[in-house]
Amino acid sequence: MPRPERYDSAAAAVADIPDGSSILVAGFHAGVPWNLVQALYEQGATDLVMISTTVNRPLLDEDGRVTIADLVLAGRVRKVIASFTAAPHPSQPNAAEDVFRAGGAEAELVPQGTVAERIRAGGAGIPAFYTPAGVGSAYAEGREQREFDGRTYVLERGITADYAFVRAQRADEAGNLVYRRAARNFNPIMATAGRCTIAEIDDPILPAGSFDPDQVHTPGVYVARLVHIAEGRIEAPRRTRRSGRELDLDAPEDTGDAS
């Protein structure tokens, strides 16, 4: 087996990412590679294209955690592709949205199932496909549409990127990854779509052959770099449960934010 390279820190794992790179960032509440995003922020690369399900809210000034929104605010991002690019309600402003509105970065808003399928397609060598999502909305206007069996679909392109940041609970030395529960989400598909896939791993890395081959979620052939985050690991924020008539009252799809 070709072994992925092992790194001692998230900083080392992202050190050579050049300006202008495109980067897939996995996760949705759970399974977010927070440590790699933080290391990227500290590393300084700029002119980035970031692809993730959400731009998130900027959290650096709030709790020290770094999100794509913080990269946008720092002027490091050329473009984002996401299914949450703005706040759900004007009363909950997201500072990154102001940057997009001002033209400081480009935003591409894509239905979540479409962004997932575009990434899966890119990783599977499918250049384009048709999907119904968005038909009948402003999203589909200006996009190529076509009928199959009397129903209308939108043409969508596969997505690949220079890098994919993923996070798994467990990995072996062959690079095989196993995710836990809803932390799986975008991780397996993004791992296939990155030309260089970097995985941050919660548990110590196991010898090759530690997993039942039937139970591997991401085959090691997709993983270029492994970093076990042993100490000072950044975890997902914990949300306290709310009830009653509150902030997200006006938010049909809530925030898509990690907080």
Binding site: P88, G113, R180, A236
Partner: protein
Amino acid sequence: MSAEAREPLNREQVAAVLAGRLERDWIVNLGVGIPVLACDFVDLDAGIVLSSENGLIGYGWHAPHGHEDLDIVSPGMQYVVLQPGAAIVHHADAFGLIRSGRVDCSVLGAYEAAADGSFANWTPHADGRTDLGGVGGAMDLTQGAKRVWLAMFHTTPEGAPRLVERCTLPVTGGRHASLVVTDLAVIEVGERGFELLEHAPGYSVEDIQAVTAAPLSVSPSLRPMPV
């Protein structure tokens, strides 16, 4: 009951009302906001499967306080509990299930719902910018689910109607909503527009029509919401 005593339903009550309308053996996707709160009220013994677009197939109620598992989380970041027989898939497979037509009911939140069943839930702005918003999985769900229901507040915090003749915000597209559950009413959306099926206790048809910007017809079997 005096007009003073009447109270709109709270979020949990709205969620409980919609949960009570889900049918045996349905596969259901509960959207972010009010809809996902219904997970606490769904009759899971009736074979209803709650399935979410982030790959949880077969979850149930909210995790008890102190027993939250941060990896068992809904798209709205509610910590929930997996049911026996649950399965996890990745995001592309989760949306494959949604597009496949197997989801019996998608319950979504909305900024506005119109009398023809169209609704708006991906951007709160009518500025024509299609690059900014929070579409999430709504456009996939409205194309894939067998039926779409909405759970929302009947008015804005300022009292402006959200149930309207025609949406002023960009619509979501896809299948139109066939049912709207609000803090004031349960309304069927059909050929003839809004039909009032249930009213919040203490609210008259006129009370509800007064905060609804489209005509309401009244079901012959009109009844109070079961709260």
